[in-house]
């Protein structure tokens, strides 16, 4: 693991137009300091991959409001009226993905699998334009793997190797996103020396993490 970087440095690494996975569930477990820095640097044209768009002023909701976002792939945008307004006005394109399918598509993208075969979405608008496979007499939708240029994670502890832990429901999409991006940046609450996190407590192995965001100086 290299030295910790500032949230501003992390935001500067992410170019306009990049696809970015954000951990978080209604803003819980979001990389909030990097989000603030992305807003501050005036990022534009981002593709967000995230469970939801939180609410105005919270989590990735700040990016929506600040006009940083061109595309959203999420399971739910109902808690953020701004996302809905911008979708209707055509400013933001939204792809809605069932929550479990979103998690599995990201996992497939990070695990080298060719796709996900799921019952979820069969017989609904989600299946439109997608291949349906009959397996053992049952229909399964073939959903494509998802990857991104960046994954921005919120962790509880990180050690100097980048090993991560998460806290309660703040884990959500963070662990699975750690596998699925070309560059993984984690924003931990605490940074501890190597050896402080026992091997069985590590939930994301440090080899997956490219940069740690350091605490404000």
């Amino acid at each position: 693991m290299q030295d910790g970087i500032s949230a501003e440095r992390a935001a500067a690494m992410i170019p306009d137009g990049a696809s970015v996975m954000f951990g978080g569930f209604l803003g819980v477990g979001s990389p909030d300091r990097v989000i603030d820095a992305l807003v501050a640097r005036g990022a534009r044209g981002l593709t967000l991959i995230c469970n939801d768009t939180a609410s105005p002023g919270r989590g990735v909701g700040k990016l929506i409001e600040a006009g940083c976002v061109a595309h959203v792939k999420a399971s739910h945008i109902g808690t953020n009226p701004t996302t809905q307004k911008k979708m209707i006005s055509g400013e933001i394109e939204v792809e809605l993905v069932p929550q479990g399918t979103l998690a599995e598509r990201i996992r497939a993208g990070g695990s080298g699998l060719g796709g996900v075969l799921t019952r979820t979405g069969v017989g609904t608008v989600v299946s439109e334009g997608k291949q349906v496979l009959e397996i053992d007499g049952e229909s399964f939708l073939l959903e494509m793997p998802l990857r991104a240029d960046f994954a921005l994670l919120r962790a509880h502890e990180a050690d100097h190797f980048g090993n991560l832990t998460y806290r309660l429901t703040a884990a959500n999409f963070n662990p699975v996103m750690a596998f699925a991006a070309d560059c993984v940046i984690a924003e931990p609450e605490e940074i501890v020396p190597v050896g402080v996190i026992p091997p069985d407590a590590v939930r994301t192995p440090g080899v997956l993490v490219h940069h740690l965001v350091r605490r404000p100086q």
Binding site: F25, L26, H76, Q99, T101, R119, T120, G121, V122, N174
Partner: protein, 224 residues
Amino acid sequence: MEAKEVIARRVALELRDRTLVNLGIGLPTLVACYVPAEISVAFQSENGIIGFGEPPPDGLEDPYLTDAGGGYISALPGAAAFDSATSFALIRGGHLDMTVLGGLQVDSSGRLANWMVPGKLVPGMGGAMDLVAGAKRVIVAMQHTAKGQPKIVEALTLPPTAARRISLIVTELAVIEPTDEGLVLRERAPGVSVETVVASTGAKLLLDGDTPTMPIVSPERVAA
């Protein structure tokens, strides 16, 4: 008794001992208040926890401990936390004994629509499609009508949540079970006639002998 309380109390009678249950946001969440005292149920929240309880006392909230609606919760002793992939492995892998969801429409084939109203409301499906496709039993807890219009209809006019037939509909007027033959009226609410139920329903209801009155878990049987 308010409509929502009637519904929540009746749904609570569907809970079975030592099962894993997911309650949707809104009305279904109320079911947790009426768990019969003699049974023990583990509640799952799809954002990643099994074993949560009441909101914590004021000032003791943990910002990293919330339910799928974003509200603060408590963890009960023996709780387990996990990530979204694990959460949906539980939901889609048949490990969830029951889910209780709200509904916009249910049709005569038992299909549910509960995630969007084209041109009006496009919140997204969240975990609803996975829950309906994956849970062993799917209970729809909803008011019988909306703005005077029946929500139980011959054929869905809203986009379905899943192809699958749901297990049971519980409203403030009736309990209705979708079957191969169609929608069977199983129970009517106290003081509600079969005719009232039929008149408030937009799909054909099959009667199966006498229609008994809905049993509702009484206050004294509710867990403290």
